[in-house]
Symmetry: C2
DNA sequence: TAGATTGTTAATCGATTAACAATC
DNA sequence: TAGATTGTTAATCGATTAACAATC
């Protein structure tokens, strides 16, 4: 908390990892951990862990280390897991359906408030407790409910158009599963991309060039 | 190609992005591009693009730029898309099923040679043209077929055990959708992680801390 | 107190950007 | 040839690591 200056994206991207391992430690009934022990299990270096955590405050104690439960709560609150960010999901294809049924949004700081598709066969159907709405109703829905985040599970052909409309209607944050580069087109947005294809191609390179 | 020294992971991770945008340019019938134009559409800087590409050879021409089709072919061959890496997929839950049906492995340098699950209701069933095999047959399958890559779509509770067995049977490369940290436990492995939960929590932080 | 481990500054390392000579 | 743009070196910037004084 406290005087949080400019936290670099590198640090931010490690926070979920800390959170993950701290939960794991709790499930093992370990209630105290040093940065060097944490280093062993996470593969990060001990000074990096200490420096990362110190961006947000001094959670440790000299000579003792960190209290696992306390640190986990601190990290949870830094990430904002206790909040409830309003989100919509657009596109109930393979990926959209999987995301919706597989992930526990509510334990990760989000609340899904609407689910959209353009397929008349899907509209009205129920999936994971959500009734799929007609994408034609999307903008009306946005002006009424002002969702903060849109989860984009759309094919490349339609994503540009829909994202543009969303941005024009005040949606600025995206969890993007499409190949479309939202942040290039729309500068004032916050985007997390999950580019499965890029990940697979990166693996392709690394497997084919193992001598490196 | 040529004298490929130590290519940094930062550069490698941008290769799929170049490949993606080059394909997009081709579909728009654009056959020539400068690094500064490429910079505009990708959001990367022009010197970075030139420097990245020059890790692998001089594909451009002074005063002209890059030939799109040629550069795309070069990048494809650098990544190794023309190869056919033998892969198996383990765990046909939500994510496993989606991966298998949604992605075109063969156009990304891979060939799926086996699909495994431990659920007797699923074993023998057909999914996306693959007959699901009993995970008990996994190690026999590995010693006979020597797959290069294992795609891990397993829950946390079983992943450690199965990965260990795979490593002991010669599998060293992983596309990992689980929360398990393979490379920490097994040092001599190549792992690409898709941590959906980490991605979502990163978005959570960024949405909650927009002033940064 | 002595031992352990943090918090934090300084040093190093690597990646990005700037600049420009080479050259198409 | 003149204009454009690469390839490449040097400068900058940021992130990681090393080191150690502070302190529990």
């Amino acid at each position: 908390m406290s005087k949080r200056n400019k936290i670099s994206l590198s640090v931010i991207r490690r926070l979920p990892k800390y959170y993950r391992f701290l939960n794991h430690l709790i499930s093992q009934d370990i209630n105290r951990i040093s940065s060097s022990k944490l280093s062993e299990i996470t593969g990060l270096t001990a000074p990096q862990i200490r420096q990362d955590l110190n961006c947000f405050g001094g959670f440790g104690q000299q000579g003792y280390g960190y209290n696992v439960a306390e640190l986990k709560n601190q990290v949870a609150s830094i990430i904002g897991i206790n909040k409830s960010i309003s989100a919509i999901l657009i596109g109930i294809g393979n990926i959209g359906k999987t995301i919706l049924t597989h992930l526990q949004f509510e334990s990760m700081g989000f609340k899904i408030n609407g689910v959209f598709d353009n397929d008349s066969l899907k509209i009205g159907a129920n999936i994971a407790g959500f009734q799929i709405m007609d994408v034609n109703y999307l903008l009306d829905f946005c002006s009424i409910n002002n969702p903060t985040v849109a989860i984009i599970c759309l094919p490349m052909s339609v994503v540009g158009d829909i994202v543009k409309k969303l941005v024009n209607n005040g949606v600025r944050c995206f969890w993007n599963f499409s190949h479309y580069d939202i942040s290039v087109e729309h500068s004032n947005t916050i985007v997390e991309n999950v580019h499965l294809q890029d990940s697979l191609l990166t693996l392709c390179y690394r497997v084919n060039n193992q001598e490196n």
